[in-house]
């Protein structure tokens, strides 16, 4: 081998090594992790996977889970519907017409505009964090948005479906290190996003929560509703751990303005503070 050719071989090897050393992309990383599944830490019972912490989805799927082009400072989003592969919710024709109508009216008809709870699975991917609370035998999720919460009950007992709930009734079990939650008894008044995607009271969701890294939970929801959808479908997204020091779930309440429109007002917003108005309080009237 000539020296030039040897150099070329060496350079080629260096380049190849460099290419292989580039950190893998998201999907490749997931494939790699699937080959060697992440093993989460345990609670103090030594066996229950520890999912505790503050988590948040990135991206803007909450605007439209089928994807949207973005604009006006809002990042675009691809569909988080992974089945069917075209990323579209398999509505029945008459239901699709209703979704289109919801979409046209979304600026006024979205229940979230009235500060109603987001429902399941929408509460998972809204733009505010959630906190997973756990202890051996207890699993609950507190959602910052409108301080909604869900207590997950062991699936040894049937759904409490005496009425239709906004956050559903959840019965869960562990399958290895994955939490599987069956959600039913949901009101048909909640939407799946800001785009008017909706369901009936026959809505049924099977959620899967699996830690794919110390700071990531892969979230999957298998969704069916024989009244609204032609077949079951699946959405998938990732919850990322919120790691800023001192991060916590903040109180979220709405205040109504003079026109009856509700606005989320943060506790750090001075408008939340109602200072005593001693001038308005009447002086005591002596009898």
């Amino acid at each position: 081998m000539t020296r030039v050719r040897a150099l070329g071989v060496v350079l080629g090897c260096v380049v190849m090594g460099g290419v292989l050393a580039i950190p893998p992309s998201e999907s490749v990383a997931q494939t790699t992790r699937r080959d060697a599944p992440f093993v989460p830490a345990r609670l103090w019972d030594g066996k229950t996977p520890d999912f505790r912490g503050i988590w948040q989805v990135r991206g803007t799927a909450h605007v439209n889970i089928e994807g949207h082009p973005g604009g006006k400072g809002l990042a675009a989003s691809r569909s988080i519907v992974v089945d069917p592969p075209d990323g579209k919710i398999p509505y029945k024709p008459e239901a699709l017409a209703r979704r289109q109508e919801n979409y046209r009216n979304r600026a006024t008809a979205d229940p979230s505009l009235k500060c109603y709870q987001a429902g399941v699975p929408r509460a998972t991917y809204v733009a505010t964090p959630l906190q997973i609370l756990q202890s051996p035998g207890n699993f609950a999720i507190v959602y910052q948005e409108n301080h909604a919460f869900r207590v997950f009950h062991p699936d040894s007992r049937p759904h409490f479906d005496a009425t239709d709930w906004w956050m559903g009734d959840t019965r869960y079990r562990w399958e290895g290190d994955m939490l599987v939650a069956d959600v039913a008894a949901m009101t048909d008044q909640a939407w799946l996003d800001q785009a008017g995607n909706f369901h009936s009271t026959e809505f049924h969701v099977v959620e899967k929560y699996r830690m794919t890294g110390a700071d990531r939970i892969l979230y999957e929801a298998r969704i069916e509703d024989p009244i609204v959808y032609a077949r079951p479908w699946t959405l998938r997204t990732t919850l990322y751990r919120v790691t800023q020091p001192g991060a916590r779930i903040i109180e979220d309440e709405c205040l109504e303005d003079a026109n009856g429109v509700r606005h989320h007002i943060s506790p750090s917003d001075p408008r939340n503070l109602l200072k005593s108005d001693y001038s308005r309080w009447r002086k005591p009237v002596r009898p």
Binding site: D161, A162, T163, D164
Partner: protein
């Protein structure tokens, strides 16, 4: 058959009774259930009430907090469209066809307490 207990008083937090309903205007409404909405903070029974003049008017009946009712055995299936019921309650002050249900009598004669604190 779901047992509807009627001997325990769910004294629910009820802000609105005195502001909304009139103690001086008791009413008995006999009619047909159109819809039973078991929602918070109060449940609502929509019922069609035939009047003496032959005309039917629709009434909205407010019940106490459903969570308390659920713990007594009520469900969204306890009342179905078409059920005959009799409601004893108090009329709303604003003159609308709205009443607070103190007691609901079902078609089979069982009486169920459905009102809340402040309902005599």
């Amino acid at each position: 058959m779901v047992a509807l207990s009627s001997n325990v008083t769910p004294a629910a937090a009820h802000h609105s009774f005195a502001a909304e309903f009139d103690f001086q205007k008791p009413v008995t409404l006999k009619g047909i259930v159109v819809r039973w909405e078991m929602i918070n903070p109060h449940g609502w029974i929509t019922m069609d009430v035939p009047g003496e003049d032959g005309k039917t008017s629709q009434w909205m009946i407010e019940t106490s907090n459903p969570n308390g009712l659920m713990r007594l055995g009520w469900t969204k299936r306890s009342l179905k469209a078409g059920d005959e019921i009799t409601v004893d309650g108090y009329k709303a002050k604003d003159g609308s066809n709205t009443a607070n249900a103190a007691r609901v009598t079902l078609a089979d004669g069982r009486k169920v307490f459905a009102g809340s604190a402040g309902t005599p």
